[in-house]
Symmetry: C2
Subunit: 113 residues, 2 copies
C-alpha cells in the first residue's frame, strides 16, 4: 500500500500547507483560481489541483460568476477535526504537568548527585 489519497478525508486534505493557506485565504471571501494562485505563489494549474482536492472533501464550493469561477469556503468539514483534537484537550494540559514534574525531578536528582 502507499500513502492514502489526499481526497480520502479532510485530515489528509488539510495536511498540505498550501491547501491550508487556501482555506485561510477564502475566509476573506470568494476568489477565482487565478487570484489564489498568485497569492500562493504558484502556477494556476497547481492551485486548481489543490482546489480540486478541497472540493472533493467538501471544504470548498465553487460557483460561476460571469467569466469567473469563484471558490468559496465551506468549513463544516473542519468541525470533525476540531472535535477530534478537542478530545485531547484534557491531555495536553495533563501531559504538560507531567512533563513539568519530570523536568523538576531531573533537576532535583542532578542536585542530589
Amino acid at each position: 500500500m502507499a500513502r492514502a489519497a489526499t481526497t480520502s478525508d479532510v485530515f489528509n486534505a488539510i495536511a498540505e500547507p498550501q491547501r491550508r493557506k487556501i482555506l485561510v485565504l477564502l475566509r476573506a471571501g470568494e476568489r477565482p483560481v487565478t487570484e489564489l494562485a498568485v497569492e500562493l505563489g504558484m502556477t494556476q494549474p497547481g492551485a486548481s489541483k489543490h482546489l480540486r482536492v478541497l472540493r472533493e472533501v467538501g471544504l470548498v464550493r465553487d460557483r460561476k460568476a460571469g467569466k469567473h469561477r469563484l471558490y468559496g469556503l465551506d468549513a463544516r468539514g473542519l468541525r470533525p477535526v476540531h472535535e477530534w483534537t478537542g478530545g485531547f484537550e484534557r491531555f495536553w494540559n495533563e501531559s504538560f504537568d507531567r512533563l513539568d514534574a519530570y523536568v523538576r525531578d531531573l533537576k532535583q536528582a542532578r542536585q542530589e548527585e
Copy 2:
C-alpha cells in the same frame, strides 16, 4: 516535489488513520509497541514505524520500563491543530446558513419555472 514528509508537521502526522488510532489508544495509558500492533491489527514493525513518526513530531514519548519500552501520549502538539480549525468555527455555522439559503433559492427557482 513529492508529497511532504509525514514527519514535517503534526497535520501531516495525524493525516494517517492508524496514527490517529494510536493516539486514541494511548489516551488510555502507556503501552508497549507489541500491544499497540495487536490492537491496530498490523505487524509490530508497522506499528513501530508509525510510532517513530509520532515521536518525531512530538506527539508521543517513550520511556524504558524494564524490558519494555512504553509509549505515552504527549498531546500538546495537537493544540495548534485544534486552534487552527477553531479559527473556522464561525465559518462552519455561517456557511451552513448560506448553503441552506442557497438550497432554498434553488427550490424556489424550480417552482417558478
